[in-house]
Symmetry: C2
Subunit: 296 residues, 2 copies
């Protein structure tokens, strides 16, 4: 029967598999691993790559356990209990501004008292939005979702639009993707939910390759590089101001270097960046509710 040890093992194997394939995609860079332990129980494997084409990437696995913080028990309306939380988190910042930033997360949570759920998501942040590549990305996500339940893609796509939103800029982080949380028995058995989550995890490298391969060798201008560095600022703003996962980690004394591996290697903030027409076109597409799969 599916239990947390199996999930932990499968998440570790997923991390291994993704790292190996990303090294092959980059061609030069290799992941450097840091093992860490959490004083209260559990730990993780943080893997960072500084590659030829992936300027900075992190593929992190963690599995932590211990007493649930009282504050969180109260927020969930449950009695004090012990918990296990495990997951794989990825953020890749490419050198080439024509390659999008990508993020993926799959996670599982359970308490000794019997509560459990899955969560996760993948979203894409192109520096220049290419509607055909956005469509391809969303088609890939839809295929992975439909294999399990054809209500998932529309529901989780909308959830991503709402979640990956830089509220103070009134713009989405990128072209979205899928986001889901608290996936419990109302979504199916634990086994079914886990199969879906692994489907998402296993789809990651193909989805990224489809964005990476057509673009990573494209020539780019200084202006395009500057635009990338500027857009990375929005990525930082989202992660530090709005991302609940990051905030939870910072509030609860998580492994800071591991949590903040998502921040870009080099970032520019320019007061009132002077957008050109092509940059404005991208900004105009950073909105909720675009049905990328219908793009023609």
């Amino acid at each position: 029967m599916l239990n947390k040890d199996i999930i932990i093992e499968r998440f570790q194997a997923l991390q291994d598999d993704i790292c190996q394939k990303l090294e092959s995609l980059d061609g030069v860079g290799q992941f450097h691993q840091d093992l860490w332990e959490r004083p209260e129980g559990g730990g993780g494997r943080t893997r960072i790559i500084t590659g030829k084409h992936i300027e900075k990437g992190g593929v992190n696995f963690s599995a932590v356990h211990g007493e649930m913080p009282v504050k969180i028990c109260k927020a969930l309306g449950i009695e004090p209990t012990r918990f296990t939380a495990t997951g794989v988190s990825i953020v890749l910042h490419p050198h080439n501004p024509h390659v999008p930033i990508i993020h993926m997360n799959v996670r599982y949570f359970e308490t000794v008292s019997g509560l459990w759920w899955f969560g996760g998501g993948i979203d894409l942040t192109p520096h220049y939005v290419d509607p055909l590549l956005a469509k391809q990305f969303h088609m890939g996500l839809k295929v992975a979702c439909d294999l399990h339940d054809d209500t998932y893609y529309p529901k989780f796509k909308k959830w991503a639009d709402d979640y990956f939103y830089v509220k103070h800029r009134k713009e989405t982080r990128g072209v979205g993707g899928i986001f889901f949380d608290r996936m419990q028995s109302d979504y199916g058995s634990k086994e079914e939910n886990f199969d879906y989550v692994m489907e998402v995890g296993n789809s990651f490298v193909q989805l990224y390759s489809d964005q990476f391969l057509p673009n990573y060798e494209k020539p780019f201008t200084d202006r395009e590089k500057a635009w990338q560095l500027h857009r990375r600022g929005r990525y930082v703003e989202f992660n530090l101001v709005w991302d609940r996962g990051t905030k939870f980690g910072l509030d609860t004394d998580g492994n800071i270097e591991s949590i903040l591996m998502s921040l870009p290697p080099v970032t520019h903030w320019t007061y009132r960046y002077p957008y050109n027409e092509r940059e404005q076109e991208t900004l105009d597409k950073l909105m909720k509710g675009i049905e990328w799969i219908n793009y023609t």
Copy 2:
């Protein structure tokens, strides 16, 4: 009698005076002004400099008014009312890593229902902590405070240690300074409080010159520049994760470009930055409770 119009006028004059003196300090850069209006009432003058020595600086004045957001009335435990808030905010990021980042803010708030208070602060963020320069900075603040009340410096110095704290890194933002808020009649008359706040504002340029002039022409290595770009990451983390002023602005739909002028022009995040001995010496001094004025 002192009223909000006089305070607004004096804050505007303070902005003018500081901008003029900073231009003279930089020698080349000039402030570019953006006037903005708040749909609900009031507006501001955002002034940005991209100088020869001040890589990116903002000296902002604003005076806004209107109905108090219901949420804030509730938080303050008061009936719905109209408010006016005005202030001057400064952040300067120098080119030279031997020159510290500096921040200053003075502010005044009142409601039609008769509530009023002042607030403000100055704090210094050296990329390399020089205890003698930190001492000089704190001595200058103490002198300005003692002219009004000799309990202010020790009280507001401690408040700054607690406020300018990057909690998730367990380090102070820099060598601190002073911070004060809700300065009401328990601190003296409105006139006395305002005199103190203007003293703080008027001390800014001298305090900064004392840091800037001995350092702005010092040669620096690539390693020192890289360290500066790394340390700026902590500045971003503080402002986006912990700074209440920034969060308030982002939550309440403030002038985003003006609020985020505090973010550095170029910032690096490196996973597990490999500190050398001299960098570690600075990190060791980023703690609360150091009595810089006693340094010998």
